[in-house]
Symmetry: C2
């Protein structure tokens, strides 16, 4: 192989594929980046067998076709440290790569590129298109409630569901449900997959923030393919039945409050300071008929007390929560004002928008002894 | 105690004293900040018994004098999270502190302030004044070569020496000597103390970057006192004889090169990339009579080769170094061009300025088998 590529173009593409390079694996070639120069152009591939990334055709001069797998950390460190300008990479039949720019030259031993596992094939049959920045936000606004309990593997991922023209993303752990939804197109067939959270954490780093950038999704039984401008990403899917989340979000309530999201968030963050070492100290909410909300916490270290004004519909109520669950949901919302619905002090609350049905968060309360 | 203080003023002062709060100690009161309101005003004190900090008089309304020791982390978190504006702190005879602003209120249990160890006394006899930002830089530009070897405790600190109108700072580990010097005033008496590096690491975080800010130093046999605008800092000194560093910096050389500091630094950083897991792979320097410097490294992962042009005085030379030692010294220098002097390939090199005697760095070479 013999190619010439501008340093920063090469580095940008390396930074993309670095997201799915394996670390500490029993198959050392997975710690490499595969460089391919063939009739389709010059591309980089990485694959940790859960997630694989292949860059689009990179602007480069191909003087001689070929392929090689280079240890990702050393290769990326070398390219990052190179002086600006054109970098030439030549590889001989023994997989020795010479990386050169001016009077700076590195020689590193690569591995046979033929041995590198390429990405799993996903036929591009049914295509689902969505704004890249919107998809990124929807994942960010739900992924904090993905379960980390490996005994229910399907809940360690997020449900991506296409249903009657909507794309829904849902994450559930034992204590809460996070739901985001957006309208895409009535023409799309219904579909439902569960993508591992680990893969989504890497994918959101690659998804563009640009408003007009589109990502295409393709599914098969075992994989999801994300087609971006800069690369394609293929992730393994999680098997198993995802929880039926819809019936949990009841419309009924005995108490409904409307309040300022940021004020409530700040109050909860203050109330949780009193617990040292991040213990799950409950924070108590008292919704009073005089349209005030009293937020208190009480630990061996001290007590906190705070009052907020609210709009109240229905009865007053006392209820306690793990403050982290409320805080994470409130941080994921953009709206200035929100609604929170309650049935009893032992049933979950539902946080939702006022004129916005794009999100819903359900949180189980904690039982407290008065 | 009953005081009222603006949130951000209080927070700035808390951030200063946090630097010497003890963590994981057998004397729990050292994990506190002492609040004192007395006839000298309102002040905060922290003390981990190595380093102690006392703020200057803080702008506050003292409604009732008193003192209390409050757990530093919880107290600082609470103040940081408070809404902007005046914060009132009242403490009762049982050391229960009520911290309040508007409808936000915390109650935390403090400890008896009388039990808090105040700072060691240093009589203000001989005063040494120096620019705060200059002192900060001098410490930064030497502290990387403080020894971490606890078997020679005196070398785990920096020598601060006042000698014939100069203030010198010196750090020595087994492999190198870093020296910084500045002219202060001929009127100052000679003096010599060794300050623990751990204390200096905290002190440089407090020293101002402002050009015109002055710090006054006072010494006694066991302590150094730094008098700043915002606070006083008292550090314990290290006992023992510091190494006689002066005779090590010989003026003689067989080879002297003049070269561009940043180019050399970049080349060394590239050459050290080839060693995975930060092993101390030697980098080899070949000074050639054609006024070029060839920088190479060679490990199981590959080789690097780089050429720089230099000005040469004397003979060519081959020598090897731990690249980290060269890199740290070069990063500590501001000059664009530097001199490096060599005797033989087995004796130390000395890095110095061209028309600047404010710094000198000595580094031992590595022995390499050709």
């Amino acid at each position: 192989m013999n190619i010439k590529c501008e340093k920063n173009i090469l580095l940008n593409n390396i930074n993309i594929v670095l997201k799915s390079v394996a670390s500490r694996t029993t198959l050392p070639i997975l710690e490499c980046i595969l460089l391919i120069a063939d009739k389709e152009g010059f591309r980089l591939i990485s694959n940790d067998l859960e997630l694989g990334i292949e860059t689009s055709n990179i602007e480069a001069d191909i003087l001689e076709k070929g392929m090689v797998a280079l240890e990702a950390k050393i290769f990326s460190d070398i390219i990052r440290s190179m002086p600006d300008g054109d970098i030439s990479i030549t590889v001989d039949e023994k997989n020795v790569a010479v990386i050169k720019n001016g009077k700076t030259e590195f020689k590193i031993l690569g591995q046979n590129g033929e041995e590198f596992p390429t990405l799993d094939k996903v036929e591009k049959e049914e295509k689902y298109s969505i704004s890249s920045s919107l998809l990124k936000n929807m994942i960010k606004q739900t992924k904090f409630s993905v379960s980390t309990d490996e005994s229910k593997p399907v809940l360690t991922g997020e449900l991506i569901e296409i249903k009657e023209g909507n794309l829904n993303i849902v994450a559930i752990d034992g204590f809460r449900v996070s739901f985001r939804c957006t309208n895409i197109s009535k023409d799309f067939k219904n579909a439902e997959v569960v993508v591992p959270a680990k893969a989504l954490n890497e994918i959101i780093k690659i998804l563009s923030d640009k408003e007009d950038s589109i990502v295409n999704l393709y599914f098969n039984d075992n994989h999801i393919l994300f087609e971006l401008d800069s690369c394609i990403i293929v992730s393994r899917l999680l098997e198993g039945e995802f929880l039926k989340y819809e019936q949990i979000f009841t419309e009924d309530y005995n108490t409904r409050i409307k309040l300022d999201r940021v004020n409530f968030l700040n109050s909860l963050e203050r109330a949780s300071l009193i617990s040292k070492d991040n213990k799950k100290t409950p924070v108590k909410l008292e919704i009073k008929n005089d349209e005030s909300l009293v937020i208190t916490s009480n630990t061996e270290f001290g007590t906190s007390y705070e009052e907020l004004s609210i709009d109240l519909e229905g009865e007053g109520l006392s209820i306690a929560f793990n403050p982290r669950y409320l805080i994470e949901a409130l941080k994921a919302i953009d709206d200035e004002k929100i609604l929170i619905q309650f049935m009893t002090s032992l049933s979950p609350c539902i946080i939702k928008g006022i004129d916005n049905s794009d999100y819903k968060y359900l949180i189980l309360p904690l039982k407290i002894n008065e």
